[in-house]
């Protein structure tokens, strides 16, 4: 198992009650696995099915494997400008 730290922002941080969560997943876990696990957390049921996940500031696709040493973050719809 690997431990993944995931940063949460704005509405997603409110939904899960924290700006950062830890998730344990088997090694080789993909973005889709992580999002599935996040949606099981209290409040996570209100996350969209395919939220915008970034790894080291770059978008990750659903089937992509996650690097446990990378910085992961789940981004609500952007509203800058």
């Amino acid at each position: 198992m690997n431990q993944f730290q995931v940063l949460l922002f704005a509405r997603y941080a409110e939904l899960l009650g924290s700006a950062q969560v830890e998730v344990n997943l088997p090694s080789g876990a993909t973005a889709a696995d992580l999002i599935h696990a996040l949606r099981q957390l209290p409040g996570g049921d209100l996350l969209p099915p395919t939220p915008f996940l970034v790894m080291n500031h770059a978008q990750v696709r659903a089937g992509q494997q996650l690097d446990p040493s990378a910085e992961l973050a789940l981004l609500p719809p952007l509203a800058g400008g």
Binding site: A10, R11, G43, V54, A73, P77, L78, A79, G81
Partner: protein, 150 residues
């Protein structure tokens, strides 16, 4: 390399930003300022706060500036405000300087479009009735109501 700070917790000022990219051989200066409005999606807005995934936002702003300067003969300056922003103050400023005005106009548009679509920044609005919501351009009503922590 000097690290440019694109995000600011203090009020943005257009004049020093213009001065940072003008030069005697670049006579055309186009700018865009996005000011905080007092209404959104039909509701009266009384207060507003921006937050960001700051390291990524800085990086993406840097990428946008570099891409734009590589695509047009321009110099670009860009700043985005964070934290509480009063109505009427600037949330974002973009400046493009060039030898000719067409490139300056095109570059400013490209930058502001890219900021809106790519920089991880979020906006929380408070309304005249005391309720709050997250601005969400993908939502049918443009906002998602705030859900208190459980």
């Amino acid at each position: 390399m000097i690290r440019v700070r694109f995000l600011s917790q203090v009020p943005l000022e257009l004049t020093p930003l213009i001065d940072s990219v003008t030069a005697p051989d670049r006579g055309a200066v186009a700018t865009f300022a996005g000011l905080v409005r007092n209404h959104h999606a039909g509701r009266e807005v009384t207060a507003l706060a921006y937050s960001a995934y700051e390291p990524m936002a800085e990086q993406v702003c840097q990428e946008i500036v570099r891409e734009t300067e590589a695509s047009w003969p321009v110099r670009i300056a860009l700043q985005h405000r964070l934290g509480d922003v009063p109505i009427g103050e600037a949330a974002v400023l973009v400046v493009a300087s060039s030898a000719h005005r067409a490139a300056a106009f095109d570059a400013v548009r490209m930058v502001i479009d890219a900021v809106k679509s790519r920089v991880p920044i979020w906006k929380r609005e408070r309304y005249a009735d005391g309720s709050e919501a997250w601005v969400d351009p993908t939502a049918p009503e443009g906002v998602t109501p705030v859900r208190e922590n459980r």
